[in-house]
Amino acid sequence: MSDRLSVLKTYKLYVGGKFPRSESGRVYEVTDSKGKWLANAPQSSRKDARDAVVAARKAFGGWAGATAYNRGQVLYRVAEMLEGRRAQFVHEVADAEGLSKSKAAEQVAATIDRWVWYAGWTDKIAQVVGGGNPVAGPYFNLSSPEPTGVVAVLAPQESSFLGLVSVLAPVIATGNTAVVIASERSPLPALSLGEVLATSDVPGGVVNVLSGRTAEIATPLASHQDVNAIDLAGADEVLAKELEIAAADNLKRVLRPQPVDDWAATPGIDRLTAFLETKTVWHPTGSLGASGSAY
């Protein structure tokens, strides 16, 4: 067995439930934290970004229309699938971030727990941020959270897996669809996550993973008229400013980058509510009886 040829993995993008190469045909070298070559990753172009937005838009109706309970089950299924491929992710995270095996294992465990945590939130967020409003009139007045639409997500540059899931999971938990730009330096865990999503029950197009130069891919996404929101977690200060200006054109919802010391800490629901719109409906309680009450 010693003279067996090694089988190298071709990492590919994940767009619309499929695994295409970059439309441009480009790849770039991904190295570990010490500069040793790990693999070639596709270097996406703006056309890949455009295709990903088309896929995300196509998937939006079905995903946003699914019941919250169903979305929770689907996301939990992702956690189950991740659990089965733990060893692979431990390996990739250790290489990407220069961690020891045990540290990397902790990160992966925290990441899987993060999926489960957000999976639980899908059918509870409406009770927390929505509900009946007391109004002075014979009406029911109800507010309910609705997903924003297609969200471009710039994954954090440093935390290649836990950071990625911490920004991605809340976006799709609430019914948005996402175009994710993986960490530029260490995209491999994100590309492998695409394989996990493809084999769980997440419909194709709900999550689209692109790798490449963050600035190159993010610029057309920020100005894209069919993208409804953008999460700038992976942008540096200069890029974030540029993208925010580009995003203003169609009034995209923008989540500015916030410093995160410890991705493993309990995240709270800020990222869940960042890409929700509040829909408020008025509903008459029915005609008033002689007593002045409908009841």
């Binding site: 455009r50 937005v53 838009r57 057309p220 100005s223 894209h224 008229q225 069919d226 993208v227 054109d249």
Partner: protein, 319 residues
């Protein structure tokens, strides 16, 4: 103005009888299917960018026959379509108008009113579209209705059953009769429904048959069957009109219809036109796209070229 095949042209005698017509059509050279598809595919790989792309998009918009052929068409929908044909992009007045709107005969009057004074033509399908399964009298009445209501163009379907059964003269006579019913008021487009003709040889025969009978346009499909316009069958028809003009001096237009949804596809067809029949056909008098959703994609691409940002379906109409 419509140009009917002149009585003096050298092909007059082939339509004298069923057998001479059959001999002529079956005497046409067979189609090299592999070569045809390879040629169409290789022409589809041309890269058309920047100013050439902008030109192609505007040309394609001006060639669109904006079509609605649904059982659920309402006067309101046809009026909306007419408004869109006249001014496809209300946010950009430099966008050209489309060539025509294409509707069922009973909607011609509504469409005519909607595009009045704009230069946009009204095309009407007729002859028991899309199946073409009706008696000749019924088909002719259908055509006369459309023309009387003001149709500038009539899109007829051939009797595929008769064609496939080898009754070429019957098909020919029918087209000639419809041609007469159109008179000088309307140009005639003849739809072969290439998806039902089974072979490329049949498409070539049908093309010649249609042109001999006096079609102003030959059109691939109704858009109602599984296989519609493809680059290969359109290339074949373009070759037929090229050869027909070379032999008779009569120019005939081509209209691929159905299944062309993206700007990229449309530009491929324009490349086919330019490379096969040349610039004489690069005009909406001689080449059309039968399409509905294509226009939105053309407009989104046009907006992208104008602004540098990708556009989205929120910025074009829902038809």
């Amino acid at each position: 103005m419509p140009t009917t095949a002149s009585a003096a042209h050298p092909l007059t005698d082939v339509t004298a009888s069923d057998s001479s017509l059959r001999r002529f059509l079956h005497g046409l050279p067979g189609v090299d299917a592999v070569g045809l598809e390879a040629r169409a595919a290789s022409l589809g790989t041309r890269s058309i960018k920047t100013t050439a792309k902008a030109f192609a998009i505007d040309l394609a918009i001006s060639m669109v026959d904006l079509t609605t052929l649904e059982g659920a068409d309402t006067p309101g929908k046809v009026r909306a379509l007419g408004a869109k044909a006249v001014r496809p992009d209300p946010t950009d007045r430099t966008a050209p108008a489309t060539a025509a709107v294409c509707v069922y005969p009973d909607m011609v009057a509504v469409a005519k009113e909607a595009v009045a004074g704009s230069g946009v033509k009204v095309a009407s399908v007729a002859t028991a579209f899309p199946a073409g399964r009706a008696a000749l009298d019924v088909k002719l009445a259908d055509v006369r209705d459309a023309v009387a209501a003001g149709a500038d163009e009539v899109d007829m379907v051939i009797d595929r059953g008769a064609f496939l059964a080898g009754k070429y003269l019957k098909v020919y006579d029918e087209i000639v009769a419809v041609r007469e019913a159109c008179g000088t008021a309307a140009r005639l487009k003849v739809i072969f429904e290439t998806g039902e003709l089974s072979t490329y040889d049949n498409i070539r025969r049908a093309s010649w048959l249609g042109m001999l009978a006096g079609a102003d346009f030959i059109k691939t499909s109704t858009g109602k069957v599984a296989v519609n316009a493809t680059p290969a069958n359109t290339l074949l028809m373009l070759e037929a009109v090229r050869d027909y003009r070379a032999q008779t001096g009569v120019q005939v237009g081509v209209k691929p219809a159905g299944g062309i949804r993206t700007t990229k596809d449309a530009i491929k067809f324009l490349v086919l036109v330019n490379e096969t029949v040349g610039e004489d056909w690069l005009d909406n008098h001689w080449f059309r796209f039968g399409a509905s959703s294509l226009l939105n994609d053309l407009l989104m691409q046009r907006q992208k070229l104008a602004t540098g940002r990708y556009s989205g379906p929120d910025y074009v109409t829902v038809d």
